[in-house]
Symmetry: C2
Subunit: 300 residues, 2 copies
């Protein structure tokens, strides 16, 4: 909303272009993010409440990961509803917070005519965090993990197909917290892929004032994805909910990035290049590919 | 919700008993609070959107004030709705943030079937903040400002009476930020009065493991209140939305508290005493008064 954006004039707000606010302190920064999820928009009424809790926490932690921030805790904004659902949500919240070792610090519970759940996550970064606008022509574009799994999981759920590993990626995304923290000294721009590799790369290019070219054949797919969908890389690159890290780095950092990948046991794959100009380009084995109509999934 | 409370085991959460989370740092603390307001529960559909924005910000800042924390910024969780309302809300948000000199740092906007607005406020405290559990037998109970104005304003609105100053107190509460910050070294427990003087005093006594006795004749009323409602101190002490500071201090601090009151031009009034025991007692000119059925207004 433009009127709200106009209010966010403080440098810490980063023009609301970034996914998180950054308050620089003497020895690093406090990073804050607040994401909401709404029944019928971000999840379906029939989704297991524990998975809704997982997702609410994971999407916020993913924003912290992209800033290289270590989570200090979360505050929950909870709308009370059907009691069994509320209890299952609270149990699931305990599970996800336990899995990431993060405390519930506070929040608010209210009665409301609809489920609108909010979560604030706060983290501490030891260095000034990267934003999405630091990429420059000549930089390489990298992505963590594999792309498209969550989107394929959602499709499998909708179509009633059995694809447990993909569905798990959709329901229980794993924010790349350690990777984000370790990548900070190596990258020039970083964000998480939440709406789709193409659309989010376009946003990084736009914020950085340059052009991004993605090599489709390089987009990393998982074994379960290949088994379920085949080599449908364009589909994977436009699906949402990956919650992987997308980052720009100078070519000289490639060896350090690959060494970190090895150490963490998490793939980092070079999927493109930044050039002078604007917009987003797509190639496959060197030949230009037309951009699809839909570059990703824009959440509510 | 007990299941959620059970998750809040971190010391920073203060058992969710306090209104704000406190993350101690080497040189003080980071204070975080998240409050939500819901159409039809915390405000009426016909209320001016700018006043809704004011209240959303003010109730959160009041929690920071009670911790003696200086606001660093806010994150907004906004549900989009009717466009003119959204715009008027955003304008009002700009007004209230401007009035307190506080930046909008970020947040989220979503489409939702109902208005559920959330705000996270973050502040920094130079000393470890007081909580509501530090009062001890022999301490004096104080309150800032005057009590009952907002409740009388709400009644005037409902009854269509003209009481501009009281209505203003209801719609545009002023969080006692400077007073809170300055009081920290003088007090043993502090919280804000949001649900009513009696109910909130009872909460402080319970958290502190002692008994509070309130002297009804001491409850400070404003000139506009007296003009509108007369000397109805019990009514004032059970009305909500005051957003004044309630604090416990050793008797030896009384001169310093009164000097600060003078300096700030804000009344601090001694309204009671903590004693050994439990619960809440009420006297008027030394004689016991029965507690009313309803001690305050519990917001959703």
């Amino acid at each position: 909303m433009d009127t709200l954006r106009a209010l966010a004039t403080d440098p810490a707000a980063r023009g609301l272009v970034d996914d998180a606010a950054v308050l620089e302190t003497g020895d690093g920064a406090i990073v804050l993010t607040h994401d909401m999820i709404v029944e019928g928009v971000h999840y379906l009424p029939g989704d297991p409440p524990a998975d809704v809790a997982w997702k609410l926490v994971a999407v916020n932690l993913s924003d912290l990961a992209a800033k290289g921030a270590r989570p200090m805790g979360v505050l929950l904004g909870f709308t009370l509803g059907e009691e069994a659902w509320d209890r299952a949500f609270a149990d699931g919240l305990g599970t996800v917070l336990g899995a990431f070792g993060i405390p519930l610090l506070g929040g608010d519970t209210v009665s409301a005519p609809a489920r609108v759940l909010g979560l604030t996550a706060i983290g501490r970064a030891e260095r000034v965090p990267p934003n999405r606008s630091g990429a420059a022509p000549g930089d390489q574009l990298w992505v963590s993990g594999t792309i498209g799994d969550a989107g394929a999981g959602l499709a499998a759920l909708r179509e009633g197909r059995d694809a447990a590993q993909l569905i798990e990626r959709y329901r229980n995304p794993r924010p790349r917290l350690e990777a984000g923290e370790r990548l900070v000294p190596l990258v020039k721009a970083m964000m998480d892929v939440s709406d789709g590799l193409l659309i989010d790369t376009g946003r990084m290019a736009e914020a950085s004032g340059c052009r991004a070219e993605i090599a489709l054949e390089a987009v990393p797919l998982s074994e379960p994805y290949l088994a379920d969908r085949g080599e449908t890389r364009l589909e994977a690159a436009t699906a949402g909910d990956d919650y992987e890290l997308l980052f720009a780095a100078a070519p000289a950092q490639a060896p350090a990035i690959l060494a970190l990948s090895e150490e963490l046991g998490l793939p980092f794959t070079r999927v493109g290049t930044f050039t002078a100009g604007s917009g987003l380009g797509l190639t496959e084995d060197g030949a230009p590919v037309a951009l699809p109509q839909r570059l990703g999934f824009e959440h509510g």
